[in-house]
Amino acid sequence: MPVVLARIDDRLVHGQVVIGWGRPLAVDLIVLVDAEVAASDWEQEIYRMAIPEGMDILFADSAAAADRLPAWDASQSRVLLLTGTIETMAELHAAVPEVIRRVNLGGLHHHPGRSERLPYVYLSDGELDTLRELERTGAVISAQNLPGTAPVGLQELG
């Protein structure tokens, strides 16, 4: 079963991910790709608290995730791949573009230098350029915070 959702969300694991997407997509494995969390047993313990019965979570940095993504993509698990930053997702796409075919912008919140594109998506011009490059190299990118909301294509974000 392929990766059923590749999502960028700066809140990482939270209700929209586990419940909002996890249930309708019948996700049984969340792969959280974040170097800080991958290096911290304490942070991993916190995020495990959010995982319901019947779902598992793995933690990896981008290099380890890139190595294992083809295996996850070929496994029987329904995988939700989650990163907190555009840069991490871009690294994964560069390493295994055949797995990262579609990218969901789920939550990128306000920071200095970013401007609002949607209420849940703030991007700097540089980040927008990175996303355009991702799309140019084969990924289909859309913003959609929950399955019930309409996806918004990258070209509509700026």
Partner: protein
Amino acid sequence: MTAVLRGVVAAHGEVAAGLVRAVEDISGIRGALVPVSNTDCDRGELERRIADAMANGPGIVFVDMPSGSCLFAALHDLRGWTGVRVVTGVNLAMLLDFVFHRELPVETAVARAVETGARSIVVR
């Protein structure tokens, strides 16, 4: 003398503001609880909102869900605090108990609040 405890309510959307307003309306005690919403912010900003509201404590952070962004942010902040506890499953009964017992030691106040909150859940 024990410092008066601070109370922070961190929850999704407008839940915290509504609970705090209700506590104030019922108890007449204002300013004992600070509401924090997770709306429109990332993890770092939510941690800052909770930390600013707690102001190093001592006190209790009441969060809505036993998992999720509010709990994670509060637990992240908790590493830098002493005399602060985090309680999940906030409800009106536990908050009302808390605002009347803010001069107790934090461990006593948190035990009371949790017991009161749990006792308020009944099926008839």
